[in-house]
Symmetry: C3
């Protein structure tokens, strides 16, 4: 549990950085706008999940560490953003690590609340991706899930892997790590080889 | 109840089809994007209503049939979309049937929870239209309620009719069917004769 | 309490007017669109706050006076909009009064529910600004918080002032009035002297 908690805080921190950097190309990137965007990007997905499954209090309302992790991410972005933008690959890995972690954490949370596996998968994907979707809706961008090569679909595959491994009795830690690696692997391979999800309309 | 349940499943199925077809003109219409859009279009309105009136668990979380109806709608759209696009009139009727049904179902649900009639009308209109609004917000379209001729206003008129008929003791089935027909009639006549809601700013 | 309630109704009324006027430049401003926008602008922020802190029933669902205040705002806008548009300064003051009031009311409500001060500040800022943000997301505008000079930041400063005054035992009324005046003063000075929040990316 302790390791997972630390990972979640790191994931929140990483999402705050990628959220703050997302407004880089927007014309009006003042302190408030950047901080607000970082905040929404970090907690949006988990918040939507918890509202949908009626799980209160929301994590960031009951655990102030989340807020401090986001503030740390904003501060780090402010100080090091020129450096961070050079590290695009590192940031990509941070984001990939973040969506992998949040997908499985979200899926698990739903399952623990007695929610059906089909819905738990949706909750996992929402946890990982909806923060970015809400951010993009606010900044009038085409939402991330409509743009990126195999983004939410990687989360979907990871959540399904988790369920499968859980069902065949692989044990929670094996399922957690394997499913996370599935997401990370799909995402990295997709970007490296330009994979995209098949078109819906031929 | 049984007939109403079957109608609701058909309405969800119809909304999923119109949701999936809505991304036809978007550049990035992969399987995930189309499915996600169909999902949001179908359950967005009812979900917002239930969050606002604190009615948990959400219908699509407790009843997996909803999810399967949406998946069926997505699959049917994928296989038959060329055919479906030729049937624009049929689709228009499906959507009209869907908003009529969801308006009255949403109004009734709010009333059953002891919510005031004025608010129940709002909940009915939200149930029918907010799925489309959220979909349009995500795809950066002008939301449907700001565009279409007499769309949400037809729902509003139908919900008010229901309340009126209920008040004068018309009986639930009469009120349900008559109010639905009011919405369907207004919508069909509005499209046929190009009716629009009066301008707010002259 | 009575005075505060009257102020809240006036604030809702003022927000409805500024909401309805916000669609003035949109192409499709029919009665439904304008009313819907006024409604979302007025109750969006408080609704989001109450959903996040799980405070049910929502204020506008349990107290119908809110709905009537919004309807009055819509009607007044319809009749007097040419006159109101000439009064831009008066409207600015109404909006400023509204965000000041709603910031402190929102902060107080969160504190009364036992929520930590750091989160209560966020709830105060959300109460004042998120109605406008949701409105702007729906009408495909750049959200108000990304545009205006020192808008949400003024609310943030006011909410922090309230906490500080509360902590040093200034008494609730003194804290309420002083913090509101902080917001009003910052906002007026910001517009008068063209203040803006420092850029995040230099």
């Amino acid at each position: 549990m302790s390791i997972q908690y630390i990972l979640e805080i790191i994931g929140t921190f990483a999402f705050a950085i990628s959220g703050a950097l997302a407004v880089k190309d927007q014309k009006h990137q003042d302190w408030f706008g950047a901080s607000f965007t970082a905040f929404i990007s970090s907690i949006g997905g988990g918040t939507l999940r918890d509202i949908l499954i009626d799980s209160y209090p929301l994590v960031w309302i009951s655990d102030i560490t989340i807020i401090y992790a986001i503030m740390a991410g904003i501060l780090v972005t402010f100080i090091f953003y020129k450096f961070l933008l050079k590290l695009r690959k590192t940031l990509f890995l941070f984001d990939t690590f973040g969506i992998a972690l949040f997908t499985i954490v979200g899926t698990e949370k739903a399952l623990h609340l007695g929610i059906r596996p089909e819905i738990a998968v949706i909750m996992g994907v929402f946890t990982a991706t909806m923060g970015g979707v809400i951010r993009d809706m606010m900044t009038n961008e085409i939402p991330i899930i409509y743009r990126k090569e195999v983004y939410a679909t990687a989360c979907f595959a990871g959540a399904c892997s988790y369920l499968l491994l859980d069902k065949i009795g692989a044990g929670r830690n094996v399922a957690f790590i394997t499913a996370s690696l599935v997401i990370i692997a799909i995402r990295i391979l997709a970007v490296k080889f330009g994979w995209s999800v098949p078109r819906f309309f031929r």
